[in-house]
Symmetry: C2
Amino acid sequence: MDENGTIVAVATPPGRGALAVIRISGRHAFTAAGECLAERNVFDQAPPRFSRLYHVKSPADRSLLDQVTAVKYAAPRSFTGEDMVEITCHGGPRLVREIVEALLGAGARGAARGEFTRRALLNGKLDLLRAEAIRGIIESESEAALACSRKLFTVAGHRFREWRETLLDISARVEARIEFEDDLDRQAILDERQKIECFFTLLSTDIRKKEKIKFLEKGPVLIIAGPVNAGKSSLFNLLVGFGRSIVHSEPGTTRDMVSETVRIGEHEVKLVDSAGIRESRHEVEREGIGRAREAIGEAAGVLWVTAADENLTAGEIAETGTVGNKILLCIVNKIDRAGGEEKEKAFEGAGFDTISVSMTEKINCEGMLSLLKEKVSELYDKVEIPDLLFNERQEEIGRELCGEIGQALGEWERPEIAAHFLKRAVSCLDEFFGTANPEEVMNRVFENFCIGK
Amino acid sequence: MDENGTIVAVATPPGRGALAVIRISGRHAFTAAGECLAERNVFDQAPPRFSRLYHVKSPADRSLLDQVTAVKYAAPRSFTGEDMVEITCHGGPRLVREIVEALLGAGARGAARGEFTRRALLNGKLDLLRAEAIRGIIESESEAALACSRKLFTVAGHRFREWRETLLDISARVEARIEFEDDLDRQAILDERQKIECFFTLLSTDIRKKEKIKFLEKGPVLIIAGPVNAGKSSLFNLLVGFGRSIVHSEPGTTRDMVSETVRIGEHEVKLVDSAGIRESRHEVEREGIGRAREAIGEAAGVLWVTAADENLTAGEIAETGTVGNKILLCIVNKIDRAGGEEKEKAFEGAGFDTISVSMTEKINCEGMLSLLKEKVSELYDKVEIPDLLFNERQEEIGRELCGEIGQALGEWERPEIAAHFLKRAVSCLDEFFGTANPEEVMNRVFENFCIGK
């Protein structure tokens, strides 16, 4: 791969839309784009950052491909810091590919994942933390995740730089203690220790916060589970508001997990309609059940749906016991067919919030919805956005950093050893910015980027 | 709905990408956008068409939402002919929604389907045929469809205008014949008739061409069909190149139609893995089979997959007979288990191109692929792009127009009647441009547009 080549990629999401944006970056960005435009001279002479209508021509037969607008960004005043062109064309998938192919024919090459951002980084247009923040902003599907990425974008780098200075400073003082052991300022040592302790507490708290928000990163997942034929798909459809899962009278028909992001009150959740959880000798169905159990383990909550006209079985008691800490709400359905008071009592007795409804006869569905809104709000209210650690890479470094600082504190009275751990802590902090192993860290960060970013 | 309001919509496809584009159009486009930007003064003073970096702030709490570029287009030099702003932000679905909400809060309203293009049309920035062409360009999933939309965009309007002039002209001459019956120029009458005949032939040919390309409009669909457990999903996976459909040893497991657009040689086809076609008492499976049969009726071709180690049944003979005209290729699979020569002979005898393979043992798969490439190329080679009629609306008008002209020709010797039909033909031509019933035609065209266009 030519590291310095001129790269091209579609920057907007795949699929159909009114518009799509194609980005070109590198030394030959202007010439590559110019070659594909009928009004080449006009383009060449257009000032940077000026948007104008052009016609894209096929380099092969000069036939018209599309009417587009194009803007030049001259180095270094561009996202990548290189010469860049942004072409905004009509958003037809087939058309977009043809324009990209025309640009490839004009000397550009396809960009690798995150290659635009990588170049921005290499050209000093942003730092690694901000690059990660941009990835986070693009990927955020929940309020919590977006809030994290924004905090990362705006304040995290600054905080880390401050802490690095403090650590370096204290580390130097501790080393000085080794040299001038007789001339100790007790108060200064205490102050330094306090600062380090404060950082240690901050980090430990942040690691816990980061753990807690994990389940919210893609929007909290709520699994609809319960015995066969209790009305799980009906609940799913009710909440989704339109029919995605086939509601069927035959037990065990919902074989695949069907999921949909839905708004419940103020918040969004990813709703998953699980396979009927029961023992089955049918091979395909068993796969589905296995996946459902696995999904429950990773979910933020479970909506347990059960039928009023079916007796509570030992299996169901065992199952709700297993997933008990995940159950947000027990829904006793089909009360148009049987009272269901006993089931309701049993679940309430087990400590679950329980409500009896009939989804087919629309009895108490409103009540169920408002209860559900409350429960989802509670899920969100528990969330605290971390201050320092916003993604897995950072969490991993944070744990390491926390370990080094903990050890430094443990050995505070033995300055040689404490200084050693403090120095290692500074190296950990450097890892946040990728300065320690730039190539390796960058590969790791960018392998998860989308093309065109 | 306020017809003159300032509208906002995401113009790029939904989903995640590096960038997304949000469009605002209307009298208050500049103020609405300005209110959401931290650098409002800079934005107000920026010249039109100049792209600059801004920060989007939440109107509620002035917190930072994103770093964006924004470009103003001043009326009438914009796509809609109104004041417009294009904001290019990071392409995170959650983020994009927040920015749109900020703009809604600043006085814009959500755009209806095709409302941007509708305004462009009302402001004389494009005509109805070009509006349809843009929709076609966005929706095109195949070479043929894209070629149609481009032809529509570039030449169709011009041709129709020419034909309208000719028809009006001839219609006037024919009327003149009524008045001055004694003073007839026989040669002129013959020339006029020839011109009309030429148009009639062109139209009839075009209606036929339009019919033929129908199956190519979304890329030709190829259905993989055949008896249960013959290896249909294996073929699908082989062609798709990665596993989307679960390959399973239990007969009847592929219950849903699974489809994927794949490139076969030079061309793209939409490959559909059908449910096993067989009689079944299982309710869910029967639904799948019904859908498969229906899909075959609409498909461009069928790949019939059968197993070498299963005898040819009367059911299979009947089934291949029914779909015979759609069969592109018969594939006798599993020749690692049995010879399959008899089956191959039987299918070849019935006039089908047949090839024997083993997909699990990779015997003759290369041969199968090259044969398939040939057959798909043949599908495309048969295609001719129409000259005048490019979508259903136009085809419908074209048929009507053809009828009027045919009747005019039939009554050529009775000028009163011929003139009547020629006038009706001119009205038909007006319908192409939507001048006859502007509101009705426009509603029909725009109801299929995407939001943001």
